[in-house]
């Protein structure tokens, strides 16, 4: 039987999580990002133009949102392959309302979040209760969702959407992209939950040592399920923002985001074996990825170089974090 006070102590967010190596790591990432920006802007003066920067950020925002959710699952030592399928299904669901009325947007968002919660519950249940490996559980839900989505649309998606989607996806407010502001709000809320709440502390404990977490009386199953629900729900919202950015709905909206979100998170210092990393780091990972992608275009290199670069960087990043004394990435 665990002593009550000591359990509470363990569950207290400890200040050292925002200092030491973590801070160094984030500074390292930031330094790397700045170095990137400097090199790219020397090579291509077009890069630092405000318009270009804002465009990059608008483009990166939906991926950033997915990464925030993916971080919760990765920190547990899990992973979620179903985020892309959730994004596309949320997008298709939105067209299902067949409305152009902006007042319906909250309803559409509500429905999408509900979808995300249901998928997250399924993923979490399979992983926590049935002990299915996260890879297979989320692969299975991906395929099932894909089938349901295509059955619903019979292969061709609708295109009726409120004008508001374009506004949240492409427009600016006070000079800043609206979807970037939404990402900022999301990141602050969920960053706070992860880094400053007892629940967040439990996530790190479960990810770092599932058995240890159980021993101190944490209901690990509940924590796992909650994280999968958060991840899917955020993915559904990101799907709607992506629809707004792209301007149209597609059966495959968000395709590739499942792997890109993992790549960005790993680049940002999250260990896929769980227990190590932060939201801030993961978002810096997104920025580094996007800056490099933009550099490839600005330097007039073939787009395919982006893919090669992405592959090299994710392996290099994972190796680097390990040599810096981290856990198995």
């Amino acid at each position: 039987v665990t002593d009550r006070t000591s359990t509470d102590e363990i569950l207290q967010p400890t200040p050292n999580r925002f200092s030491g190596r973590r801070l160094l790591q984030n500074f390292g990432l930031l330094a790397f990002l700045i170095l990137n920006v400097i090199v790219v802007s020397i090579l291509s003066p077009a890069f630092l133009k405000t318009e270009n920067i804002l465009n990059i950020l608008t483009q990166a925002a939906p991926l950033g949102m997915v990464v925030v959710g993916q971080a919760f699952v990765l920190l547990l030592g899990g992973l979620d392959l179903s985020v892309a399928s959730v994004m596309a299904t949320a997008a298709v669901l939105a067209t299902g309302f067949e409305t152009t009325d902006n007042r319906m947007m909250p309803v559409i968002f509500g429905a999408a979040i509900l979808l995300g919660v249901i998928v997250g519950l399924a993923n979490g249940f399979l992983v926590a209760k049935r002990k299915v490996s996260p890879f297979l559980a989320t692969l299975a839900t991906t395929i099932v969702l894909q089938g349901i989505r295509f059955l619903y649309t019979q292969g061709s998606t609708g295109s009726t959407l409120p004008e508001g989607f374009t506004v949240i996806g492409q427009h600016r407010f006070l000079g800043l992209p609206i979807n970037l502001l939404a990402l900022a709000v999301l990141a602050i809320v969920f960053g706070y939950i992860l880094h400053f709440s007892p629940f967040g502390r439990r996530i790190y404990l479960v990810g770092g040592s599932p058995r240890g977490a159980k021993l101190v009386g944490i209901r690990t199953d509940a924590v796992v399920i909650a994280c999968y629900v958060i991840c899917s729900a955020i993915a559904a919202v990101a799907g709607l923002f992506l629809v707004g950015y792209v301007g149209q709905v597609d059966q495959w909206t968000g395709k590739g985001y499942e792997l890109d979100s993992i790549v960005a998170a790993v680049m940002g210092g999250i260990a896929i074996s769980g227990g190590r990393g932060s939201i801030l780091g993961a978002l810096l990972g997104v920025l580094i990825l996007i800056v490099m992608f933009n550099a490839v275009i600005l330097l007039g290199l073939p787009v395919q170089v982006q893919m090669i670069l992405k592959g090299v960087i994710v392996i290099a990043a994972a190796a680097l974090y390990l040599s810096a004394g981290g856990r198995n990435a």
Partner: protein, 304 residues
Amino acid sequence: VSLVVVIALLVLLIVVGTTLSDRFATSRNFLNVFQQAAGLGIVSLGQTLVVLTGGIDLSVGAMISLVSNFTSGWIDGDPSLVIPVLIGVVAMAAAIGCLNGALTYYLKIHPLIVTLGMASILQGTTLLYSLAPAGKVPPEFQVLAYGRVLGLSVGGLAMIALFVLVGVFLRYTRTGSAIYAVGGDPRGARLLGISVPRTLIITYGLCSTFAALTGIYLVSRMGTGDPWRGEGFELASITPVVVGGTALAGGKGGVLGTLLGVFLISLLNNVLNFLDVSTFYQWIIQGLIIITAVAINIDRGRKA
């Protein structure tokens, strides 16, 4: 136990298929299923080896695309180039696979990340070479997919031969037992004097090689390469492995299960085609099969 379930499901499918359509239980239809199973079968065979070590290879899809496009692009209809190009692409694939294994071991990076990164590199390279299907292969090349020996498709027979070879390799060679040992208990394996890096390098090398063979088979079937030919195979190749009872955590399972898994999936798609069921339902059913298979086997390994 799980193999019995898979066999029972196979029998059930055959019974259902037979009652559904006169054309189902014909040798012609079965030969078709057999022929179509070859592509998925060979790549899943390689995936089985990697999964047995407790790893995963997400680069097989990109490898198939790469091999598919380069084989047909380099041969470009010239029969005299067939043999050198085939040797070249298989050697290249084997080398890349060995690199996957080496990176996994020496850098201690999770194989998921290594092979995910590698997939991105390979797909990028393939698309740099050409964005559209490149080249073509001489008609003789299509013997692989459409040729018949004793009435059976050459590709299908090659798949069976490879499964038998790998089955023997796993059971009767030191490296074969090393693969199980590394997956089951890496530390114990080391104590037994097994070289973990050597085992991993060989395993990932074989996996990429088998992916390359699937790529070559698909070129033969289509008559041309395609820079996206392998898309989806990275995940599709895992389904038969898991359905066949090999645990993602490693150390348990084998190639017989995978072969049955491949036939189960191929036959299921065939039956659903007879039922005139859309691909959409096929996806749903495939997803449910994964969940069911895993729930039966209860894959307790919590590895990604």
